[in-house]
Symmetry: C2
Subunit: 191 residues, 2 copies
């Protein structure tokens, strides 16, 4: 997706030749016009699929998933909680996820009320790198019996093992910008 | 806002005569069609104001703020982080917030890159009850020198002190559903 790649080239900060920080438009300040173009592109790539629900994970996936849902007939968005409040229903699906950007393990949770075996789910997230968050979501969805119709990612880094782990599960994965290398602070996209 | 009140009546769960749980459409599963109506209503109520940015706070404000921004010419959304990652810029505005639903104090943060004295900010959040989260956002914005053009809240509970604290700051506050009482598990809206 050219618009997204251009935005990454002009706005992302690279550190340590492997970390790409996109707080400027994706993870802290949110570029809503760009998110609409991202939503349209996910619809184009998953147009053949019947989708009844979009599932994502706290925090950065929520805005992208919500804008994207508008292009899928306003299907409900459900986000897995990393920091459940005291008011949360106790009857939940849960899975462990390790966050490298926070160097911490989380228990992520989705209430059993919001996933059923009848759901056909599009998973949306901002990043695919190690794949840990996506495998956690995969586990929650497998517990619920819902069907995973596809996985839509905004930015994928090919030099970590995420794609391999997702493809091993037989999932249809679409990433809008695929980064092969961040060596020397340069973003090299996969052709 | 009648559509919202109807949704609260049919879908909210009341506990302890003071806690209203709206995970079904606002805090865990997200009703995107309703969020669009909420966004339109905020635009109607703040139509006289010039807005350059929408500011909210992790987690439940993010989706509402993002959908609402579409009705304000796609202005950027910035969310205060409760759980900053290791990659976050260290040059931040910060404030303490106490969360009653998590019984925990947080340090909330916004990068100085994303708030300037030229910004005219609409604050959006899901709930106003004790007012702690809003006072934290007020502090971040005061530190930045940005102007607060208004505060838009989805659900306000009048039997806690939030409104008083916000109005003492001289802010223009608009709440789309105002709840006077949850006694006996019944939702009584302010007329």
């Amino acid at each position: 997706m050219q618009l997204l790649k251009d935005k990454i080239r002009t706005s992302a900060k690279i550190t340590d030749n492997r970390i790409i920080q996109v707080d400027n438009f994706l993870n802290h300040q949110l570029d809503i016009a760009l998110f609409n173009e991202i939503g349209k592109e996910f619809k184009r790539r998953f147009s053949a699929k019947e989708i009844t629900k979009i599932v994502t994970i706290e925090t950065s996936g929520i805005a992208i998933a919500s804008i994207t849902a508008q292009y899928f007939n306003n299907v409900p968005v459900v986000f897995a909680k990393k920091h459940a409040g005291l008011n949360m229903n106790k009857d939940v699906y849960e899975a462990k996820v390790f966050s490298y950007t926070k160097n911490q393990e989380y228990l992520i949770k989705i209430s059993k009320d919001y996933l059923t075996p009848n759901d056909k789910v599009l998973i949306i997230d901002d990043f695919l790198a190690s794949g840990s968050a996506l495998l956690g979501l995969y586990s929650l969805l497998a517990q619920s019996g819902a069907e995973i119709a596809g996985v839509g990612i905004v930015i994928e880094k090919t030099f970590q093992e995420g794609r391999k782990l997702i493809e091993e599960k037989g999932l249809h994965l679409e990433s809008l910008a695929i980064i092969d290398s961040l060596q020397d602070g340069q973003v090299i996209f996969k052709e």
